[in-house]
Amino acid sequence: MAPVPFSVSAIRELFPALRQKVYGKQLIYFDNGATSQKPQVVLDTLQQYYALENANIHRGVHYLSQQATSAYEAARRNIQQYIGAKAPEEIIFTKGTTDSINLVAFSFGERLKPGDEILISAMEPHSNIVPWQLLCERKGCILRVIPISKKGELDLQAFEQMLNERTKILAITHISNTLGTINPVKELISKAHQVGAKVLLDGAQSIQHLSIDVQDLNCDFYTFSGHKVFGPTGIGILYGKEALLDSMPPYQGGGDMIAKVTFERSTYNMLPLKFEAGTPHIAGAIGLGSAISFLQGLDMQAAAAHELELTKYAQGILDTFEGLHIIGEAKHKTSVVSFTIDGMHPFDIGTLLDKQGIAVRTGHHCTQPLMDFYQIPGTVRASFAFYNTKEEIDIFVAALERSMQILGA
């Protein structure tokens, strides 16, 4: 099916949440980095599933159970194809990015030895720091952090110097949620592979903006959350190369992940079910599959171009504001504009924008070490999706001016 030509006004019609007013003002939703709104088709899929198709999967001989199992597995194949994975066995349903990273840190982490090194970067969110810290505590490994420049770009020279034969895994964000920086991941992956390290890409902020081909990237793991890619909350994906996933021990035990259980010993199911203990989030998986189908029906290149245009437009205006500093000025970045204003606290700006109907994120964005690096308490972050418009940015800018007037007066 050929994608329909990209039209923002047509797309907006598909997202009921965008039609509402808050505090009597038309809602302007610029917090897409935190979570995206859901198109009607995803809501319909969830409703349809619970209304008519609800049954437990992989367990029943009856009609509904088989229908639900087929729909769940069809979602897996859909996601597999969307990110270019070789086989559906490489797609594990998880609770989200955080859960996926914890799975890898726990299960892949089993093979690590004292003194082994784990490499992350200074722009990682807490979800890609803490699971590795816990692993370091369990196994006596060493966490090393690739520094970044003030512009928000990785120090590639330092990265190369930090790589060595003890480096067992590079766990890095594809796109920074706070800065918008798009990291040069292909280069990072091939360099890490040269020393025999595996690479986990945190794709929480890339799946909704870029077209992803995990085989072309050649990453060993890729993670994302359904809720940031127009799907439901509570569902996410861990992609892993099949041989690697196969060689890893189970993460959690329970139903679905076993082949045979006796009190002496249990044997484990094959991939992908080995990593899906218990009744999974069936509705979520099917809903995520539907969100991915929705994206497949869009002209994603045009959507990405539109997002970039919005970002340039917003940055161009904000740059002229006295005392306003844009945090994150990487050459390659996505639709995130993070900023601080001299003498004004992000919380105050966010509160006043909220009362004017504008949803932005304020604070440290779960990247406290990154805020420490910039020596700021937090930023105001506007993050755009393809359903946002220049008119919304104009209203946002006027609201920001009004907020600054009140705060500065």
Partner: protein, 138 residues
Amino acid sequence: MSIQVKQQEIIDEFAIYDDWMDKYEYIIELGKSVPTLSPELKTTERLIEGCQSNVWLATDIKDGKMQFSADSDAIITKGIIGLLIHVYNNESPAAILQAELFFINEIGLAEHLSPTRANGLLSMVKRMKTEALQSLAQ
């Protein structure tokens, strides 16, 4: 003036604002007029860290009445601090412990005292009460 009366006064004062921005403009002006805590009082023991903004609370007791002073890095938080301090200051520990805090709700600022707001205010109110309780025990 009792805690009850002081709260009612604030509610009456806010009744004239029907626009959110006017309400916040007032809170911000208030925040600017609350005296800042001197740097030596901003110790880690007095710090209440919130996810969104930080609060420092200093407590004193004079002639059996509580004397709070507080500061925040965010001006809206500080404005609300100003209101809370006005309500609680010069009151006995027993009165503070007994009184129901209702004005925040009435003037539509309940969200600022919700656990999810994480601006330090909810913890500050809890700490004010703890300090009152401790001074009773002494």
